[in-house]
Symmetry: C2
DNA sequence: TTGCGTTGTTGATCTCGATCAAGGTTGAAA
DNA sequence: TTTCAACCTTGATCGAGATCAACAACGCAA
């Protein structure tokens, strides 16, 4: 299998010469025939952690599929208070359909590979192909369900339940290979400050709650970012 | 124009004899030709405030359009803590597409009229009619935007900003006739306890903040439920 | 290795909103 | 019009999480 020699560093997009073969099964909503139709104009772009992919109230001229890494969607109040309103994992589709202005800021939380598709091309394909719009509808409905779940976390859970809920969410997304098992491990894709912005807390409170989970042997933390969940059931029981 | 004599009290559905004429321009996502196609099987049902329209994790066999009133969508934790995750106003479409299990509880906040459509019939119409799915996609995207906006309110705003944001939201939905004007008036469709569940606060805090807005002459309150916003710009400036 | 900026931890104190408690309004039904 | 339950307001106190502060750990570059 071809490696990723053709994927260069941030802001060096590379034309995808055989998109179908490479993205099949990875490229989220796009099926092989659709990928083939778009293969000449999709670009795989690598972004480093922290890169801004789309800014609130700014026009965006392409959609993308997240192929690797985690993208955070944030909204910011005038005085600087920030809230992460969604996390997108591979192979999610990225971009607000049918409006050029993004309502959120999209930022690479970890290093991220995106498969970009020009807006016009995707919208043309979609208008000829109701099945594609149907699949995008399914993802949109899932995102709405997730947003509403998170509203309960933001509005009604304690700090300790919020942090447990966050770890549970990340564990199920980043270590699906051990599904059903008690032990999971993963690297946190967010800093303490980002986690705080996702949970509506301060970074100090997040740090304290993580320390408490560690003291209670629910998790182990190695080098700030690596987390081993010792018992998923026990973690879940702390999610409120 | 025909009045609503054929609409009886809660749980007494009445067959819609000329759906097209009556719902045209009211029935949210459905266009006249679609209404005509469904006219024999839609039912207009009136529900009193407090009626449960769909329960979390329970199967639902129909979709509906909200024709009058406000529907609240709630989620509840095991220990009883509750969060309102969405409000639906006429002429919104109601119901989670493509899955029979509702992820939320839908309850009539005020008295509500629904135009119900059997699931199977709407899904059949949708599969033959990509334009209908497209319109539902637009509403879903709008709901997702609204949910993410509200996540900022829940996660990052103070109690006083939350209450101001709520009043602003309700004012723009329930008194659109005075759009652009400083003064708006409406009846609150929610109790103090419901408002608290929408904002992630307690009912006492909501009451105190409303009293403060009244003392500051931003609003006037008559008989608990009726609100006059004296200056929308001043209200907005308190939304954070 | 040393130096240094970024990121994370922990402690002390403060504050906003929750909780506990009592009484006041409202509006529908008798 | 009286009655009553549901709803709302206000006051006193408490506590979870914010804020302020100091330091520790990590990773990268020189």
């Amino acid at each position: 299998m071809a490696d990723r020699k053709d994927i260069h560093n941030s802001d060096t997009p590379v034309l995808c010469q055989s998109c179908e073969a490479r993205h099949n099964g990875m490229c989220g909503v796009l099926e092989p025939t659709e990928l083939l139709a778009l293969s000449k104009i999709t670009r795989v772009v690598r972004h480093e952690a922290g890169a801004e992919l789309a800014a609130e109230a700014q026009p965006v001229d392409s959609y993308a599929n997240v192929m690797r890494g985690v993208v955070k969607l944030t909204k910011t109040l005038e005085d600087g208070r920030q809230q992460i309103v969604g996390l997108q994992f591979a192979p999610d589709f990225l971009g607000r359909l049918y409006t050029k202005e993004s309502a959120v800021t999209a930022e690479a939380a970890s290093d991220v590979d995106l498969c970009r598709v020009p807006r016009a091309a995707l919208e043309r394909l979609m208008s000829e192909n109701p099945a594609l719009e149907h699949r995008l509808m399914q993802q949109t409905l899932r995102e709405l369900d997730e947003a509403r779940d998170w509203m309960v976390t933001l509005g009604r859970k304690t700090a300790s339940e919020k942090v447990a809920s966050f770890l549970y969410l990340i564990a199920t997304h980043l270590d699906p290979s051990h599904e059903g098992e008690a032990i999971r491990h993963f690297d946190l894709p967010l800093t303490r400050s980002d986690i705080a912005d996702f949970l509506g807390l301060t970074l100090e409170t997040v740090s304290r709650q993580l320390s408490r989970l560690r003291a209670d042997k629910v998790i182990a933390i190695t080098g700030n970012r690596h987390v081993d969940v010792m018992d998923m059931a026990r973690l879940k029981s702390r999610c409120g």
